[in-house]
C-alpha cells in the first residue's frame, strides 16, 4: 500500500470525524468567550443527534436527499432550546456553571432515551435511509493528486464546518458583536459600564453554543452512527471541549485542534489496516487528545489562557 493509497483513505476519514468536533467546539467558543463554562456540550450534541435522527426517519420521504440538511436545522433549533435551560440556570439563577452543565448532560441522555422508548418502543432507533453519503466535490475532484486526496469520495459536512469556522472567526474578531461578546467574557463590569447588556450577550453566547453543538450532534449521527442509541454520542462533546481549549479558545485554533483530534480518532479505528500505523496500540491514539489538552493547559505546549471572567456569574454592582 503506497502513501497515496493511505492518504486517500485517511484524509476523508479524518475530515469526517473532525466535522462534528469542529461544529461543537465552535459552539463552545461562543459560550466560553462570553464567560459561561459549557460542560453541557456533550448533552447538547445528544439532543442534536436525537432530533436529527428522528426528523430524518420521519420525513425522509418528504425531503428526499435534502433530508439530512433539513434535519441539521432541526438539530440546531433543539440544541439552542436546550441551551436556554443552561443559560437560565447559570446566568439568571447564578447556578454553578459546571453543575448546570453536568445536569444538561444527564438530562439530555435521559430525556432522549425516554423519548426513543416512547416513540419507537425500543432502546434505539432504526437506521436512517438518507444520511450524508460519499460525494465527489464538483470540479475540485478533477485536480490531479490533491483532488483525489481531498475532494474525491468524501463528505460535505467537513467543508461546511471549515467554512463556518472562518465565518465564526470573522464574526468573533472583526465585528462589533464579536467584540461585545468577548468583552463580557473578559471583564463584564467594564462592558456593562460601556452600555453592553452583559446578561443578553451571555444568553446569546450560550444559545448559539447550543445551536452549534446541536448541529455537531446531527452531523455525527447522520454521517457516522446513522441511528440513535445511548452510545451514539459518547465523549464527542467533551472532546470538542478539549479541542476548544487546545485551540486556545480561538475559532480557527479550535478547528485545527478538532482536525487533529479527528485524525487521531480515525487513525485509532482504521489504523490497524494501514502499514506503519498497525503497530501503534490504539490506546495511545485514543488518549492523545486528552493528554495533549492537559499538556497545553499546563503550559508545556504554549500556554492556553481562558477568558478572564469564565465561570463567574455577573452580579450588577458587586466588585
Amino acid at each position: 500500500m503506497g502513501l497515496m493509497d493511505i492518504l486517500v483513505i485517511l484524509i476523508p476519514s479524518t475530515l469526517l470525524w473532525a466535522s462534528p468536533l469542529i461544529f461543537t467546539a465552535l459552539g463552545g467558543a461562543f459560550s466560553e468567550r462570553s464567560g459561561i463554562v459549557n460542560i453541557g456540550l456533550e448533552g447538547l450534541m445528544v439532543i442534536g443527534a436525537f432530533s436529527s435522527i428522528v426528523f430524518n426517519i420521519t420525513f425522509a420521504d418528504t425531503f428526499g436527499s435534502a433530508t439530512p440538511w433539513v434535519a441539521l436545522l432541526v438539530a440546531m433549533v433543539m440544541g439552542g432550546l436546550l441551551a436556554v435551560l443552561h443559560a437560565v440556570a447559570s446566568i439568571t439563577f447564578r447556578a454553578d456553571q459546571v453543575v448546570s452543565g453536568v445536569a444538561i448532560n444527564l438530562l439530555a441522555i435521559g430525556l432522549t432515551l425516554f423519548l426513543v422508548k416512547r416513540i419507537y418502543g425500543k432502546g434505539q432507533t432504526d437506521i436512517i435511509s438518507e444520511g450524508f453519503g460519499k460525494v465527489d466535490v464538483p470540479l475540485l475532484h478533477k485536480i490531479p493528486v490533491i483532488g483525489d486526496i481531498f475532494f474525491s469520495n468524501t463528505y460535505w459536512p467537513p467543508f461546511v464546518a471549515i467554512l463556518v469556522s472562518v465565518i465564526v472567526w470573522y464574526v468573533m474578531f472583526k465585528t462589533p458583536f464579536g467584540l461585545r461578546l468577548r468583552s463580557v467574557g473578559e471583564h463584564p463590569m467594564a462592558a456593562d459600564t460601556m452600555g453592553i447588556n452583559v446578561t443578553r450577550m451571555r444568553y446569546i453566547g450560550v444559545i448559539i453554543s447550543g445551536a452549534f453543538a446541536g448541529v455537531g450532534g446531527g452531523v455525527y449521527a447522520q454521517s457516522i452512527s446513522s441511528d440513535f442509541s445511548h452510545a451514539t454520542i459518547s465523549g464527542q462533546g467533551f472532546m470538542a471541549l478539549a479541542a476548544l481549549i487546545f485551540g486556545k479558545w480561538h475559532p480557527l485554533g479550535a478547528m485545527g485542534a478538532a482536525l487533529f483530534f479527528g485524525f487521531a480518532q480515525s487513525l485509532s479505528i482504521i489504523g490497524s489496516s494501514i502499514p506503519l500505523f498497525e503497530n501503534i496500540p490504539s490506546v495511545y491514539l485514543l488518549i492523545a487528545p486528552y493528554v495533549l489538552t492537559i499538556l497545553a493547559l499546563t503550559g508545556f505546549i504554549g500556554r492556553a489562557d481562558a477568558p478572564k471572567a469564565l465561570g463567574t456569574p455577573y452580579v450588577k454592582g458587586s466588585r
Partner: protein, 349 residues
Amino acid sequence: MSNRITNILIPVISVLLGIIVGTIIMLVSGYDPVAGYSALWQGIFGEIYYVGETIRQVTPYILAGLAVAFAFRTGLFNIGVEGQLIVGWMAAVWVGIAFEDLPKIIHLPMAIIAAALAGAIWGFIPGLLKAKYRVHEVIVTIMMNYIALHVTNSIIRDVLTERSDRTDYIADSASLTSPFFESITDYSRLHWGIFIALACVFIMWFLLEKTTRGYELRSVGFNQHASQYAGMNVNGNIILSMVISGAFAGLAGAMEGLGTFGYASIKGGFTGVGFDGIAVALLGGNVAIGVVFAALLFGGLKVGALNMPLEAGIPHELVDIIIALIIFFVASGYMIRYLIQRFSKKGVK
C-alpha cells in the same frame, strides 16, 4: 427565616419540584403517574430483594458523593470521580486475581487499598497541576476520565487477559460478597461494602470537622488568600484534598469490583456512578451525613426505576430526567432562597 432551615429546605423543595416535573412529563407523554410512582415505590420497598439491591447501589453512591463533597469543601470541583472510580475498580480486581492463596485478612484489605491508591494517584495529578500550574481542575479531571477509560480498557484487554472483554472472577479471599446478606435479602447482590462506605462517612466527618488538617482544608476552601496569610500551605492542602477525594472514588470502584461484580470488563462508556456522585454531593450539601441521605434517595430512585418498565410500562430513564432536574433546582438555589425570603417576608407583614 434562619439560614440553617433554608439550607435544609432547598434540597427538599428541589426534590419535590423534580417529582412534580416528573409527573408532568408522564402526563404529557401519556403515562399514568400514579402507576409510575407506585411501581417506583414497589421497586424500592416492594420486596426484600429490592431493598438489598437498593443498599448495594447506595454503597458506591455514598463513596462517590463523599469524593465530590470532600474536594468541594476545599474549593475544588472533582468531576474526575468517574475516572478515579474506574482505575480503582481495575486495581482492586487486578490484586483480586493476581494472588490466589493469600488469607482473606491480608488479601481483601490489599485489594481495597490498591483501589484507594489507584484513585488517589488519579486524583493527585489534577491536584498537582492545580497547585503548581494553576490549571483548572475541572478540565483536567474531565480529560483524566477519558484517559482512565481507555487505559483501563487497554490493560484489561492486553495485560489482565488475552484479548478478552472481561477478566476472570477475583479470588474468594478478595471478595466482599456476603452469603449472609444474600440469604436475608432473597439473593440480592448486597455485600459487606456498605460498612466500608459508612466508615468513610465517619472518616470524612471526623477529618474535616475535628482535626487541624480538616480545619485547614476547609479554610482553603473558604478563602485561599486568607489561609495563605495565616501560614497554611495552600498548595499542599489542594493536593491532599484531591488525593483523599480520589481515594474515596477509588474505593467506590472497589465496591463494584470486589462486591457487586467480582470482575472488571471493557467499558464502552462511563458507569455514571461518578457523575451521579456530583448529584449526591450537591443534594447532600457537601456534608458527610447529607451525602448518606442523598445517596439513599438516588440509590433508591435508580433501583426502583428498573421496576417502572415492568409494572407500569414507563421507561426507567424517567428517573434520570428527575435526577437531572433535581440537580438543576439545587444548583439554582439562589432563586429558591430568594423566593423563600420573599414568601416569609410577606408572611410577616
